[in-house]
């Protein structure tokens, strides 16, 4: 069975890039547009990995990671955050919130897959 990944980003361009790249590598992809949307979907869906943007309306990525980790079922789930070069401090903040790793935007598809493979191989 293929692994399920939920991608959370308010930008449709980023969502589409994530979707195409991950699906092309054999993952099943679910999309959410922000933290609130992601939490809502996570309450009914089981996923193997979460890829989330940090800067989002309604609920940002850090808050989302904290919420997700609170659910016992998601304590060991790999979570990758999307950061930008201008916010190196966000990596640490995200890590202490419970993120497994990060990808710096903009990224190339192979960079995304290299990171995903490290935390959640197909």
């Amino acid at each position: 069975m293929s692994k399920r990944v939920m991608t959370v980003d308010d930008s449709s361009t980023v969502r589409q890039v994530l979707h195409m790249t991950l699906e092309g590598a054999g993952y099943e992809v679910l999309q959410a547009v922000d933290g609130v949307d992601a939490l809502k979907k996570l309450s009914t869906e089981i996923v193997d990995m979460l890829v989330t943007d940090l800067n989002m309306p309604n609920m940002d990525g850090i808050a989302l990671i904290k919420q997700v980790r609170r659910n016992p079922g998601n304590r060991f789930m790999p979570i990758i955050m999307l950061t930008t070069e201008s916010q190196p401090e966000k990596k640490l903040e995200g890590k202490s919130a419970g993120a497994s790793g990060w990808i710096v935007k903009p990224f190339k598809p192979e960079q995304l897959l290299a990171v995903v493979r490290m935390v959640c191989p197909v």
Binding site: S11, S12, V17, R75, P78, E85, Q111, V119
Partner: protein, 697 residues
């Protein structure tokens, strides 16, 4: 699914509208954090999506505005009328940039720069603009290096959503890995927390990647683990002895045993490993891991040694020279055998002769290839020269080499060193401008010299290029007139003027320095290249740089030739220059009204009558042959009586008396023992051209 570009356009236009509305709200209430957030996020998202969708200029532009609003968000800057107006014009500009990508008129680059500068001016200090691409930090090296890695994660690793087995798995993608799990950290069952990671790992990794590549695998757990990476074997070192460290040393290096304990246990009259286990000083799995390391490195070194021994043996080059000479003799004898056998009606003899011919050709190729060396070794010596000369002349120069793997005959490479040194010296001395001058004309301060090699048919092309000032044609011309090399009224093409630098005694350097200007450089270069049966030309563009192109034959000893007859004489033309052979009847020749021109499929080709060149007064056949050759890009015909065919030509020198005869580069011995001269086609063509010119004047 719509294309990514379309998705981005729709999203970006939406975001620009969002940006506008947020900015207008912000103008009303400049302290409203929600509006500040909206502006920031719109810019941030535009930047991120733009970068992903390949709209780097949009992304870069947004970055500038975003940086300012980042400060606003963190309270380090207030929103004022100026900022809102600036951002609004930036928003209009962004829209323009975006529409330009989809076919509208291009935006004004100057305006882009102005807006960027305006945003940058709002920053308290000039922030380093981070690059938008992340290059992988990993470097490659051709040699295999072995690392000892100990990866000991903190117990809370699982709660980060990280599975250590995936990281170990990732290591195996880098090279050959041996993984040993160390279990001594696992507590008794009643104290065991299954959500904690108490195992740690020893990995022996043999890889061509560097240490950074290994660290990259652990990048997400860097702060939550103990990671020790030690290089224990380097495949590029040839001087290593086969033996590796002893068990005790390895354990001490790993920190599994103290030097003091080692001394203590070594005194016992048992094998160290057994003693350590019996005493419980080091557990079995650590010893197992250390022994694996010992075995691994020893195996690697042994294999490498065996491999090296197989790969190469050192032979004195004069032995190779003798071998080449012998093969040359043999090719000559073989030609004789073939000629002799083809004259007899003896099938058996013929088949033996053919077999010998085939074997000789193979032998020839093999022997010649032994003498081929990559030119990279010569190239790498220039790094130092460039560095030192640059320092001496106070110029910043970097050397770029390309095609170092291109192989050339050892003799050619040996004799190439001096000409190349001359050319590189000249490029630094005359070509590259001082850093201050370069910067003033908008070039990077650091000059660039490129040395490259590439194959081109039976030749190798070597290029020495610089990005300096280029040749000063006016000065060259003036100097040539002053030195009496040309007349003031001579009408010369740029190419002819630049090639004047190869004329003996020519130098334009105003003061004689250690580096250039001795006036012997270029003509010596040309002589050396001529001696290698090569040619050199120069291309130059004012302000852009100068490029020297040296064309060299692959090998010196034996060439493929085309054997031709004129009356009773035999000659060899180098086959590499020959394009085709056509017939020339007396009627054809008369059509050209006494000019030496022939029409080859619509193209007029000038020709040289070798019969006239060599003053052979013998009856000329009714139908002659024209061998069309390509000489430095021009097609020129050479008229001969008969084309006999391809001939394996072993080049013999002509002896000192005849060395400098123009038009003849050597001789060879034919199968029947007769001698044929090898013609130097470029020289013949040049001579004919001169004749023609003087005949016209």
């Amino acid at each position: 699914m719509s294309s990514l570009i379309d998705t981005f356009r729709d999203e970006a236009l939406e975001l620009i509208l969002e940006l506008e509305s947020a900015l207008l709200e912000l103008e009303e209430s400049p302290h409203d954090a929600t509006q500040i957030d909206r502006v920031f996020r719109a810019l941030h998202t535009l930047k991120g999506s733009g970068g992903l969708a390949g709209f780097d200029d949009v992304a870069g532009f947004c970055h500038e505005a975003e940086t300012v609003f980042e400060l606003v968000r963190s309270g380090e800057r207030q929103v004022d009328q100026e900022l809102v107006s600036l951002t609004l014009s930036a928003q209009d500009h962004l829209k323009g940039m975006l529409l330009a990508e989809f076919g509208a008129d291009a935006v004004d680059d100057e305006q882009t720069a102005e807006l960027v500068a305006a945003f940058q001016a709002l920053l308290p200090f000039r922030q380093e603009i981070s690059s938008h691409s992340i290059e992988s930090m990993t470097g490659h090296s051709s040699d295999q290096v072995t690392y000892r890695i100990r990866f000991r994660p903190e117990p809370n690793l699982f709660r980060q959503g990280v599975q250590p087995q995936f990281l170990l798995n990732e290591l195996t993608h880098l090279g050959e890995a041996i993984v040993v799990a160390q279990l001594d950290g696992i507590p008794p069952l009643d104290e065991l927390d299954p959500e904690e990671c108490r195992v740690y790992w020893d990995v022996l990794l043999t890889t061509d990647q560097d240490e950074n590549a290994i660290r990259d695998v652990f990048i997400f757990v860097e702060e939550n683990c103990e990671l020790v990476i030690q290089q224990i074997d380097d495949g590029s070192r040839l001087d290593q002895v086969e033996d590796y460290k002893r068990l005790g040393e390895i354990l001490v290096e790993r920190g599994d045993l103290t030097p003091k304990d080692l001394e203590k246990y070594l005194k016992e009259k048992k094998r160290l490993g057994e003693a350590l286990i019996e005493e419980g000083a080091v557990n079995g799995s650590k010893i197992h891991s250390a022994l694996l390391e010992q075995e691994r490195v020893q195996t690697l070194r042994r294999e490498r040694k065996a491999h090296d021994a197989m790969e190469s043996i050192r032979v004195k080059s004069d032995r190779l020279d003798k071998l080449v000479n012998l093969v040359g003799e043999m090719v000559t004898v073989q030609a004789r055998l073939s000629q002799f056998s083809s004259g007899r009606v003896d099938a058996e003899l013929l088949s033996i002769a053919e077999e010998v011919e085939r074997l000789t050709w193979d032998l020839r190729d093999q022997v010649l290839s032994i003498r081929m060396l990559p030119i990279g070794g010569t190239f790498s010596r220039f790094k130092r020269l460039v560095r030192d000369l640059g320092a001496e002349l106070d110029k910043e120069v970097m050397l770029i080499t390309d095609g170092g793997e291109t192989e050339l005959d050892k003799t050619v490479i040996d004799q190439l060193n001096d000409p190349l040194v001359h050319l590189v010296r000249n490029s630094i001395g005359h070509g590259i401008e001082p850093a201050g001058v370069r910067k003033a004309i908008g070039k990077p301060g650091k000059g660039r010299i490129t040395l490259s090699a590439q194959h081109s048919g039976a030749y190798v092309l070597l290029t020495v290029a610089d990005d300096g000032a280029g040749l000063d044609l006016g000065r060259i011309r003036a100097k040539a007139i002053e030195k009496g090399l040309i007349n003031a009224q001579d009408d010369l093409s740029e190419r002819e003027i630049s090639s004047l630098i190869f004329v003996p005694g020519f130098s334009t350097a105003e003061e004689v320095s250690n580096v250039s200007g001795r006036g012997v450089g270029m003509d010596v270069v040309r002589l050396a290249i001529d001696a290698l049966r090569g040619s050199i030309e120069v291309h130059s563009e004012a302000g852009q740089g100068t490029t020297f192109i040296i064309k060299l034959p692959l090998t010196l000893a034996i060439i493929d030739g085309l054997l031709i007859d004129i009356a009773t004489e035999h000659y060899i033309l180098p086959l590499s220059a020959v394009e085709e052979c056509i017939e020339l009847s007396r009627a054809d020749a008369e059509l050209a009204h006494g000019r030496n021109l022939v029409k080859v499929r619509g193209e007029i080709v000038p020709y040289v009558r070798l019969r006239d060149e060599f003053n052979i007064n013998h009856d000329c056949p009714e139908i002659e042959q024209v061998v069309i050759a390509n000489i430095e890009g021009l097609r020129i015909g050479f008229v001969v009586d008969h084309v006999v065919g391809e001939h394996q030509t072993v080049i013999k020198n002509l002896g000192r008396m005849y060395q400098d005869i123009a038009g003849v580069s050597g001789a060879t011995i034919l199968g029947d023992g007769r001698v044929a001269l090898i013609l130097d086609l470029p020289q013949l063509a040049e001579r004919a051209e001169k004749h023609e010119k003087s005949a016209l004047h």
